[in-house]
Each structure stands twice: as structure tokens, then as C-alpha cells.
Amino acid sequence: MARKLSGMRLLNLLLGGWSGLVFLFLYIPIVLLIVYSFNASKMAIVWEGFSFKWYTALGREALDHVSGTKRSPLVESAINSVTIASIVTVFSVILGTAGAWLLYRYKFPALRSITTLVYIPMIIPEIIMGISLLIFFKAMSLTLGFTTVIISHITFCFPFVLIAVQARLAGVDPALEEAAMDLGATPMKALFLVMVPYMMPAIISGGLMAFTLSLDEVIVTYFTRGPTSETLPLRVYGLAKVGLSPILNTISAVFIVVTVALTVAAESVKGLNK
């Protein structure tokens, strides 16, 4: 018995050690990128000492762009990205929450098919979604631009909100809504005063997920963007294809910090669910 126990402990230790290595593998590149963003050297990878100069340069570029002194395609694409992600989040939250609520509320034969259909945009290869939407927009003679990017993003973002809210609703006590109605609330009142607050943590974490997804997306955007709706990830993709540059390190570092903040926020809201 004792030998078996120590064998188990050894196994656990091995698993732990392996996991530690994998975590290092996952984090070293991210950390290195952040470290390099403080590199004084013009060459993106030769270390020449600590410096904030690329951040100052980026900040100056942003200021110049905002004040109208000098147009910066980079800052413009960042503004586009945030604008698109915000609009996408609002629509995804509405569509996703309403969808989850209705799929919870009603039971009917086509329910399963609809649920499967909702999953498709989440799991279909992004390139298929990108080219099919591109062909669709062209066939409908829509000009590629903000609208087409926003429509495409909503299509793959709202299912994430829907699934998050659905998961929350799966654990709801039916007595909650019934009690509200027994106490004289109309179905509408019961929905907005009782059920919506109950769903809120899932709505917020789903919304944050939608925002992050939209902000990071490359492939679908690649096919559905127009000349005026270039997003930051696509600008970064274009720059990275040419090669490494210090400004790219800086943008990436900022991007990572923003994503980490959003992820931690989404996770801590989800933690409130319990």
C-alpha cells in the first residue's frame, strides 16, 4: 500500500513537472515579446538596453493622429478595431442573450437543429466562413467595409454569448421566475427584474469574450474587410510578413496586456456565477 502511494506521488510529481515545462513553453514567448518591447535597439532582437522609447514613439504617433497633425495607418486601424469590437459586442449580447432565453423558454421539434446551427459558426474553419461570406457579400453586391466586417464578426461572436448564457440558465431554479409571477409580476417584469439580473454574470463574461474575439480576429476579417476597414490584427499581419520591427513588439505587448486584462475580467465575472 505504501509503495503504491509513493508510486502515485511520483506519478503526480512527473505530471506536475511536465505541466510546469508546458507552462514555460506557453509563457516564455509572450514574456520575451514584452521584454523586447523595452529594447533600445533598432534591430528588433539584438538587446541594447532598457528603454521606453518605442512606447513614447507609439504614444506620439497616437497623439499626432488624434490631433490631426499626422495620419497614422497603425493608430487608425487600432481605432477601427476597437470601434468594430464595441459594435459587435452590443449586437452579439442582444442576439446571444435573446437567443439563449428563447431556446430555454420554448421546447419544440426543431430545437436541436437550431442549437446545432448556432454551434456551426463557432467550429467551422474560419477560412470557410471568410470565403463564403466574401462570396455572399459580392453576390449581394454589398461593398466590403465596416458593415461587412461587423456582420461577419457578429456571426461568429454571438454564439459564444448564447452558449455562456445558456449554461447559466441550465442551472436556474424554475421557482425563481414562478415566485416572481406568483407575487404578481407580469412575464415581462419577471424577465427583466428577475431573470436578466440572474443572467447578468454570463452576459458580461460572454460580452467580454465577444469583444476579445472580435478584437483578435484575422482570417474572417482578411476576406471581408474593405480598404477603409483595416483592423489592427491585419495591419500587424501585414507588418509581420515583411519582418520584425520594434514598433511591432510594442504593439504586441500592448495587445497582450489588453487581452490579459479582458480575460481576467471575464474569468472573475464568471467566478461570481458560483
Binding site: V22, F25, L26, I128, S132, T155, G171, V236
Partner: protein, 292 residues
């Protein structure tokens, strides 16, 4: 577990939607119909069309695009993409499973912190994470500097823009997508069953093969799909890590909608990948007859 499981369900959920219900459902259905179903159908139509010299689509019916997909040149690229995607999936599974298991079995307090450590790379743009690897693998980059300093190599290795770099990029980007669903299954694993296996004299290998693996199968299936399917069509990672030297089916498709301007052929390639996706989906989610 819902508290009412097993009790007769009295809540309103059993209601069939009346006219009002369907009206409320309409926006969701319209959205899915317009932007998921319709585009797929139009892509299917395009895949049977032709194009003129200017790249304009000519509406005829021909199988020529599909015969071209099975032309040795493209078939080779398609098979190579499937091969790279399969290698990536296998590496992710072997590397990720122990991590998912360890995190899933950790004491609850630690578990949530470890889970957050997996979520962060999961949500960080794969583009930026790929870019980080470009930095590392550059011939004058930190990996070569380290290996040179340690004296393990005498000349810098040229890893960037090789198939190895592509696989590293793919594994790095998709690993969290493998770990998370397996973690989900491991977390639900009943500890008593694992202990019973060991108590009954099974070694770690036997316990894994006959108890742990079958019980975590849903997570494994989900992880394999989340890695394998997107990896087939990925073009950005292969572009950045492989240069133009390692073309994948995703790059070929992308090119049809770019310079090559052959949308019908691109649509046919897209439909082929979609069928591949459907087949994988069907094969992996099909009910396993041996599972009870």
C-alpha cells in the same frame, strides 16, 4: 445538476412557441439563415461555375473545379495540409493531455489559478503569439544565441521558414484549444473510479487505458476537433512561419480570392475542406458502439 432533475418538469420551458414565440425567435433564425446557410449555399453554387479571362464569374454548370481539386498538384498540397494538421493534433494531444489531467486533478484552490494560466494564451491573439515565435526562431534570435552560448551548435540554425517552424507555430497556437476541453472532462471525472482501478491492481498505464481515457473521451474528441479542423485551413501561421516556402491548402484558397482571381476554384477548394470538416465531425462525434 439541476435541483429538479428527475422531477416532473412543470416550468414553462415545455411550452411550444406560439406565433409570438416564433416572432421573437425570428431575428436569430434570420441571422443564421442569412449569414451562415445562405453563404454556404452560394459558395456551393459558385464552386460549379466558371470564370472568364478577367476573373469574372460565369454562371454555368461544370465539375471542372472539382476535377482540378483532385489534380496531383493540389491534391498533394491538400494531403500535406491534412498531414501537418494531424501532426499538430497528435503533438498537442500528447503534450496537452498530462497538463489537462494534472490541472483537472489539482486541489480546487490551485486549480482555478492554473486554469487562468491556460485561459490567457487561449485568448491572446494567435497572430501575436506566432510573431513571438518568429522573434525566437530568427537566426540571430534568442534561441540560437542560447544554443551557441551553451556550445550545443557552432552555426546558427535556420529554423524559421521551414516546415518545423510551421509545426511549432501551429502547436503553440492550438495547444490551449486541446488542453481546455480535456480539462473539462477530467474535472468531471469521478475520483472513486480512478481509485478503484488502482485498488484493483491496475498500473498507471492500465488505469489510463481502460478507465481514464474512455471517461475523458468527450474532452479528447472536442480537443482533437478544435485543433485539427482549424489547422487544416490555417494560412496566416503557415505564411508567417513558413515564408512562402511551405504552401498549405489555406494559402492556395487565399490566393484564389487574391492574385489568382479564380473564385469558383476557391469555392470548390472551400467546399472540399468543408466536406472534410463534416466528415471529421461525423466520425469523431458518432456514438462509439463500444461505449455504454
Amino acid at each position: 445538476m439541476t435541483p429538479t432533475a428527475g422531477l416532473p418538469d412543470t416550468r414553462g420551458a415545455e411550452r411550444a412557441p406560439g406565433l409570438r414565440g416564433w416572432l421573437l425567435m425570428a431575428p436569430l433564425l434570420a441571422w443564421l439563415g442569412a449569414f451562415v446557410i445562405a453563404p454556404t449555399l452560394i459558395m456551393l453554387v459558385y464552386s460549379f461555375c466558371d470564370r472568364d479571362e478577367l476573373g469574372q464569374v460565369v454562371f454555368t454548370f461544370s465539375w471542372s473545379n472539382y476535377t482540378r481539386v483532385f489534380d496531383p498538384t493540389y491534391l498533394k498540397i491538400l494531403l500535406k495540409s491534412v498531414y501537418y494538421a494531424a501532426i499538430t493534433t497528435a503533438i498537442c494531444l500528447v503534450v496537452g493531455y498530462p497538463v489537462a489531467y494534472w490541472v483537472g486533478r489539482a486541489p480546487e484552490r490551485v486549480r482555478n489559478k492554473l486554469l487562468a494560466l491556460i485561459m490567457i494564451p487561449f485568448w491572446t491573439s494567435f497572430l501575436i503569439r506566432t510573431y513571438a515565435w518568429m522573434t525566437i526562431l530568427k537566426s540571430e534570435g534568442p534561441l540560437n544565441s542560447l544554443l551557441l552560448y551553451l556550445g550545443m551548435i557552432s552555426t546558427p540554425l535556420d529554423i524559421l521558414y521551414t516546415p518545423t517552424a510551421v509545426v511549432i507555430g501551429l502547436v503553440y497556437s492550438y495547444l490551449p484549444f486541446m488542453i481546455l476541453p480535456i480539462y473539462g472532462s477530467v474535472e468531471k471525472l469521478d475520483n472513486a473510479l480512478v481509485e478503484a482501478a488502482f485498488d484493483l491492481g491496475a498500473g498507471p498505464v492500465r488505469a489510463f487505458a481502460s478507465v481514464i481515457a474512455p471517461l475523458t473521451r468527450p474532452g479528447i474528441v472536442a480537443g482533437v476537433m478544435l485543433v485539427f479542423i482549424p489547422a487544416i485551413g490555417m494560412f496566416a501561421i503557415t505564411d508567417l512561419m513558413g515564408g512562402a516556402r511551405v504552401p498549405m491548402i489555406g494559402n492556395v484558397i487565399q490566393n484564389q480570392f487574391g492574385q489568382a482571381r479564380d473564385w469558383p476554384f476557391g469555392a470548390a477548394l472551400g467546399m472540399t475542406v468543408l466536406l472534410l470538416f463534416a466528415a471529421t465531425f461525423w466520425l469523431t462525434t458518432k456514438k462509439d458502439p463500444s461505449a455504454t
